[in-house]
């Protein structure tokens, strides 16, 4: 299903904002959301009264859209969307805003994500702390000690290793590459370079994933403004046009093993053809891939299924340096969720915007015309093609 390109370049990201990323923000999620949002609105050259839509996502751990709108003093809004979802919703949230803009509902939509992922609610802890009997889908995973995403993604990675010969050393190359990028990023939580040996010697979390295969539990927020393209041209920064977006996938989730046809085919295989067609691009046109990287292996799987390399070749591809800033498709130039921090994927979208603008400082790639960003959770994911 390719769809038509009705929304192509009708909306653009015009402002971005961050709070500091830390292990202990000392602030509530509302304060974090507000700080990042105000920063993004100012960056777009706008005032809060210009915002006429607000979109966010979270899993009960973020600031509610209505409380942020109220705090910003928004008098009227044409579009409030408080989406309940995790990693797969990072690009979906931007897509949702872009749709509201493309359809003429709004002029400027604010998108944010705030969380205290380290000092507040930590992954794997909320479930185990409750220790109550579970129902719904969780009854078929939690009783077996499946408590955090690292375990279910570990099972997908394991199957990829068996089927294609991918190794934990390949994972190490991803960790080392993204950390090297984070060293050049003042915002990053982890700025000490690591080696393959450091990766190999880090402790197991859930085999085949070690500590250095996992993203950073993070406190912080980031936000962006999605504006009508024709207005965007008059704002201070070069707009990052939303050329296309997609949200979908198949049943390929370890958490619903009954629905899986193939443990090693991931969501991009299903959405990439339409995503590229609607943007009017081919995979070779993409200059930067801001891929969702909660775990190292997720980059390998997405490189294959977004079409940057052949199926099963993702491991050798990363080991060959192809995802470094000098490689054929730079990934995670900010250090990614692995080393910059985990603002549930939205920070990777902001990095893509920065690279398209050309204001990424020492991290700036030579020429970025087209960037891909993605988000992934369980069996589905979302993605954006952004263009200068």
């Amino acid at each position: 299903m390719k769809g038509e390109d009705l929304a192509r370049n009708r909306a653009a990201i015009t402002g971005v904002g961050y709070t500091p990323l830390s292990r202990d923000s000392g602030l509530g999620v509302e304060a974090l959301a507000l700080q990042a949002s105000l920063s993004a609105i100012r960056d777009a050259g706008l005032a809060p009264r210009d915002i006429d839509g607000v979109v966010s996502y979270g899993v009960g751990d973020s600031a509610q859209v209505r409380s942020v709108a109220q705090a910003l003093g928004l008098e009227a809004s044409n579009w409030y969307a408080d989406l309940y979802g995790g990693g797969s919703f990072s690009c979906l949230s931007v897509a949702n805003a872009a749709m509201a803009v493309a359809l003429g509902l709004c002029r400027h939509v604010l998108v944010y994500r705030a969380l205290n992922g380290r000092s507040g609610r930590r992954l794997g802890r909320s479930t185990s702390a409750a220790m109550e009997a579970v129902g719904g889908a969780e009854q078929f995973s939690v009783p077996f000690g499946q408590l955090a995403p690292v375990q279910s993604y570990g099972m997908l990675a394991r199957r990829h290793m068996i089927d294609y010969g991918t190794t934990t050393e390949h994972f190490g190359h991803v960790a080392v590459t993204l950390r090297a990028n984070a060293v050049r990023n003042e915002r990053a939580i982890m700025r000490k370079a690591i080696t393959l040996e450091d990766h190999r010697e880090s402790r197991w979390i859930a085999e085949p994933f070690r500590l250095l295969d996992c993203c950073q539990e993070t406190d912080g927020a980031c936000a962006l403004v999605v504006s009508r393209s024709e207005i965007a041209r008059d704002l201070p920064h070069p707009p990052a046009h939303v050329s296309s977006f997609a949200m979908g996938g198949s049943g390929a989730s370890a958490l619903s093993p009954d629905k899986v046809d193939d443990f090693t085919t991931f969501f991009p295989a299903h959405i990439a053809p339409g995503l590229y067609a609607r943007a009017g691009i081919e995979v070779g046109d993409i200059d930067l891939a801001a891929l969702y990287d909660a775990f190292t292996f997720l980059i390998i799987g997405q490189l294959e299924d977004f079409g940057f390399c052949e199926k099963g070749e993702g491991g050798p591809f990363v080991a060959d340096g192809q995802i470094t800033p000098e490689g054929s498709i730079p990934v995670g130039t900010n250090g990614g969720l692995l080393s910059e921090g985990y603002v549930h994927g939205l920070n990777n979208v902001l990095e893509a915007v920065s690279q398209l603008r050309g204001d990424a400082g020492v991290r700036q790639l030579e020429s970025v015309e087209v960037a891909l960003a993605s988000g992934w959770g369980a069996n589905v994911g979302s993605a954006l093609v952004l263009s200068r």
Partner: protein
């Protein structure tokens, strides 16, 4: 792994009782569509294959193969034994009839993809958690 490691248990309802309590009789049970013969899991009101509504509880052999697994080391739950093996197994009776489970009765390090296993049940009052152990064990 200890005899009865820490577990967060399922909430037993009319819809899932056949699955969580079949172990009382030593049986691994699923809903099965009577017209087309498809085993349906997780429990659902309709057969996803033929949309038939006549689903009855039937036992399977309990034999299965490991499709993939992880050895968990991180102490999410302080009381659990580590490492423990979480696996996805496919039940012999039907391709795609799969469960997440733990592999027990063998060193965690010996678990591998393709391993042949059979169902055993861990009793927690009225709940019988289906776990899997190497076929010959």
């Amino acid at each position: 792994m200890a005899e009865k490691p820490f577990r967060i248990l399922p909430r037993v309802t009319g819809e899932n009782e056949h699955f969580w309590c079949g172990g009382r009789e030593g049986e691994l049970r699923f809903l099965r569509c009577q017209p087309c013969g498809t085993y349906v899991h997780p429990p659902a009101p309709l057969c996803p294959d033929c949309l038939g509504k006549d689903l009855q509880v039937e036992a399977v052999s309990g034999r299965a193969s490991v499709l993939t697994f992880t050895l968990n080391h991180h102490p999410w739950v302080p009381a659990a034994d580590h490492p423990y093996a979480i696996a996805i197994v496919e039940i012999d009776e039907q391709p795609g009839l799969r469960l997440m489970t733990n592999i027990v009765g063998c060193p965690a390090e010996s678990v591998h993809v393709g391993m042949r296993v059979r169902a055993v049940f861990e009793e927690h009052e009225d709940v019988f958690v289906p776990l899997f152990t190497p076929e010959g064990a």
